[in-house]
């Protein structure tokens, strides 16, 4: 137990502490471990995608696993229970939601030629009108008349043919099967690995090093989990809203909104644009399109004022120019996926750099020793 602080002044000066024995791993060992990890990564490069997805999934699920574990349950049992629960939800969703997606997807594929034809007629008519009203725009428009079905051919070309999709199906199935398995082990053993690494760190700097990591983890974790939750809520609200106003393909459009919602500014424009185009191609009246736009406006306002404030909070900010540049770079690198991932990735990098710089500044602050203050020696306080 702690000795009485009041008696501490009577204690003789303690001898200077003996130098601690070297317990941490040497730099050479760290180098060897890093080289081994890089080598292993190269050998297993085919597994990079499922491992990365599994790590992300484990990161998202960690607070839930910790909550279950806090009931006094062993980590393995807590993670197993969590995965069983998630499996149940997936089965439920597959039973309830998947048929609707399948039905809408099948309808969209079978209607695609006629939808494309409707759009084609609209675009060609618009071009003719434009060329008649403003002849100077003719040099920006196609010179030759396009043949019937050009838009459908263009879409098919962009999507790729069926055999290519089938070739990708094997890879997708491989990723879908491996990701939960890796995620299970990451989630189960992640805490133990972190504790092991902490135990290897040099004791003198452990407090500040891990504290900085905790702060980064808190801000980034809150942001990423909030972003995912926000996208899911907004996608669900969009599905309900579009279904209420009788828009076509509400489930597919809701899913598309979920996917592009993390894109600041562009996400809403893309969602409204795609919904309006699909609605026009389906031959819906202009009033209906007005309702669809209204649904998106209301959800956008709700997102900004309530949903995002609750899920993400106001701790992470990015300059609009940085947002646009990161989206453009993401698009150039990985297409639509790159656009969606760009802002979260840049935010994570920016926040990490900010916190590390802040930490450096704090360390550079001059320290005033307490013992020198006018002879008033406070008792033990740290």
């Amino acid at each position: 137990m702690a000795t009485d602080p009041a008696s501490s002044l009577a204690l003789p000066p303690a001898p200077p502490p003996a130098p601690p024995p070297a317990r941490g791993a040497s730099p050479l060992a760290w180098l060897a471990v890093t080289a081994a990890v890089v080598g292993l990564g190269f050998l297993l490069r085919g597994l990079v995608i499922p491992i990365a997805l599994a790590a992300l999934l484990a990161y998202f699920l960690n607070p839930l696993a910790a909550r279950i574990q806090s009931l006094g349950i062993r980590r393995t049992v807590a993670v197993s229970a969590l995965f069983a629960g998630i499996g149940l939800i997936v089965v439920l969703l597959a039973t309830v939601v998947a048929p609707r997606f399948r039905a809408e997807g099948a309808a969209l594929i079978s209607n695609l030629p006629s939808l494309a034809r409707t759009l084609e007629i609209g675009i060609d008519g618009l071009q003719t009108e434009l060329a008649r009203a403003y002849p100077q725009t003719q040099r920006f428009l196609p010179k030759e008349a396009r043949h019937e079905g050009w838009l459908f051919e263009f879409i098919e070309e962009r999507l790729g043919d069926a055999s290519e999709l089938l070739a990708h199906f094997g890879l997708i199935a491989f990723i879908v099967a491996l990701t939960p398995i890796f995620a299970f082990f990451f989630l189960r053993d992640g805490g133990a690995i972190v504790n092991y690494l902490i135990d290897r760190l040099r004791p003198a700097h452990i407090e500040t090093t891990v504290a900085v990591w905790c702060e980064i983890d808190r801000i980034i974790g809150r942001y990423l989990r909030g972003l995912a939750l926000d996208a899911l809520v907004i996608g669900a609200l969009t599905t309900v809203g579009l279904w209420l106003v009788g828009a076509p393909y509400p489930w597919l459009l809701g899913a598309f909104t979920t996917l592009v919602n993390p894109l600041p500014y562009l996400g809403t424009i893309l969602s409204v644009g795609v919904a309006a185009i699909v609605s026009i191609a389906n031959g819906q009246p202009l009033g209906q399109i007005g309702w669809i736009v209204a649904v998106y406006v209301v959800i956008r306002v709700l997102d900004d004022l309530v949903v995002a404030a609750v899920t993400i909070g106001g701790s992470v900010h990015m300059h609009p120019m940085l947002v646009l540049v990161s989206i453009l770079v993401g698009e150039q690198t990985l297409g639509l996926l790159g656009m969606v991932a760009a802002v979260p990735v840049v935010t994570v990098v920016k926040e990490t750099a900010r916190l590390l710089l802040e930490h450096r500044r704090n360390l550079a602050r001059p320290h005033v020793p307490t013992a020198g203050r006018a002879g008033r020696i406070p008792q033990y306080v740290c």
Binding site: P20, V210, R365, Q379, Y380
Partner: protein, 182 residues
């Protein structure tokens, strides 16, 4: 909590977690916290082993977390200008560095392990997350911290009062001497 469940569920019970909760419940900073909150607190703790003589933190380091002694012993020392002076020693079940849960200021003393020691570390960020999730934690811990601080202030004032009493009874010329010069 799981400790109330029947014996056949023993295989699912995390005995180390239950032990940690027990230690936390006996720690003055967390005294009075309901068990359900202590269990949430316990999963947020990092564990680290220290060899004899290893520094836990040094005077002047930014204070970031609270330490709970699981096993072993930790000595807190302060550099008085004439060498390090031992202030207090902590054994199993005690906590130190609690002021780091309140402010960002540097550590006012150094702590080092005097024997093979295992410590649990609670970082301020995790503590703040818990407080944000349940205000009861904040209220109870704040009350306990105030109690501890009051104890420190009283302990610090006893020798000061004695000194002042001695000064008051001394000749007038001595009383005019500034305290720092005495």
């Amino acid at each position: 909590m799981l400790e109330r469940l029947p014996g056949w569920l023993n295989w699912a019970r995390d005995t180390e977690h239950v032990r940690r909760v027990g230690i936390l419940s006996r720690t003055p900073v967390f005294a009075g916290l309901p068990r359900r909150l202590l269990t949430r607190l316990a999963v947020q703790l990092f564990e680290k082993a220290y060899a004899p003589g290893e520094v836990v933190f040094s005077e002047g380091d930014p204070g970031k977390g609270l330490f709970v002694v699981l096993d072993g012993e930790v000595e807190v020392v302060r550099d008085t200008g004439q060498g390090p002076q031992r202030i207090v020693t902590f054994g199993p079940g005690t906590a130190f560095g609690e002021l780091a849960l309140i402010d960002d200021l540097p550590r006012s003393a150094s702590a080092l392990a005097t024997m093979p020691t295992r410590l649990l570390i609670l970082y301020r960020t995790h503590f703040e997350d818990l407080v944000a999730g349940d205000r009861t934690i904040g209220l109870v811990v704040a009350k306990n911290l105030l109690r501890l601080l009051a104890g420190y202030v009283r302990a610090a004032n006893v020798p000061r009062a004695k000194t002042e009493a001695a000064v008051a009874s001394a000749p007038a010329a001595d009383a005019s001497t500034p305290p720092a010069a005495r």
